[in-house]
Amino acid sequence: MILVIGGGSQGKLEFVRRRWDIASANITDGGTCSFEEAFQRPVLDHLHLLIRRLQEASLDARKFIADGIEQHPGMILICDELSSAVVPVLKDDREMQETTGRVLCAAAQKAAKVYRVFCSVPVLIKGEEHD
């Protein structure tokens, strides 16, 4: 599994498309997909939105995503980093920030490579480029 993280609108999806030559039909949008199809294509984009939707549906997002990764180890996951911000006042927002952080820590541990995209520049922070 490959994990691609970074702030919003930093060019994460564009990097993934070009680096691994991915067609649109092979990308799932975590903001709109059904929970069943979340891990059915090679790339899952907007993982943080999937986490929010799982949380709103009172499902265990950490377990759901850990299971998805376990069953589909060849995937590329793309997620916004939400952690470097002031802790939100609203409890649901706080939970989303906390859960997203924990999901990413667990996912990064499983990942063969972790890229952090900064101003459209991908920086490899785990693994080797040419594996």
Binding site: E81, S83, S84, V86, Q97, C105, R116
Partner: protein, 184 residues
């Protein structure tokens, strides 16, 4: 060694800092807890962090503010882990009602004294600077103080580590950290 470990919320920074402190330590080890647990959510966090530290050999001191007066108690310790700077500053500003400038002076003094008393100091802090919201004056002041203190500690530190998804990204002190590769 003075080490700064920063990161966002739930980014795995505590574990990296604890592992670094344990690796550096050659004697008695202090854990300086700064959270003033006022509600259940805070108390749950305290319990979670205590569980994480269990069996690692820390002696816990709860110093939510006024650190300088308490530092003499730590003489004799080889390593101190302070967690976290974000709470300490919030407590100095909110509970002790210090202005941003007073808080900066107070904390700078705390850190100088701590680093002069204990051979190895590891400080956990927070990165909260990638946000788009307009906050009230108190919060804006708090963010500025935390940023200034983080920068001041980073300037004095031998080692600056950012935890990103529990991966230690080393911004300063690569050479000093050789031999401590297994931070997570």
């Amino acid at each position: 060694m003075l080490a700064l470990v920063s990161g966002g919320v739930a980014s795995g920074k505590s574990e990296i800092a604890e592992n670094l402190a344990v690796s550096l330590n050659k004697g008695k080890m202090a854990y300086i807890a700064t959270m003033a647990a006022s509600d259940e959510e805070c108390r749950n966090r305290v319990v979670k962090h205590r569980r994480m530290r269990d069996g690692k050999g820390f002696n816990t001191f709860e110093f939510p503010y006024g650190l300088s007066e308490k530092i003499p108690i730590l003489s004799g310790c080889d390593t101190a882990l302070l967690e976290c700077m974000g709470n300490l500053i919030a407590n100095e500003m909110y509970l002790q009602e210090r202005s941003p400038q007073e808080a900066i002076e107070c904390i700078r003094n705390d850190i100088r004294l701590l680093a002069a008393t204990v051979p190895n100091t590891v400080i956990v802090t927070s990165t909260i600077f990638e946000d788009f919201k307009a906050y009230d004056d108190f919060t804006t002041g708090y963010i500025r103080v935390l940023a200034e203190i983080n920068s001041a500690i980073a300037a004095a530190a031998d080692v600056v580590i950012e935890s990103v998804c529990a991966i230690p990204v080393i911004h300063k002190g690569m050479k000093e950290l050789s031999g401590y590769e297994n931070l997570v």
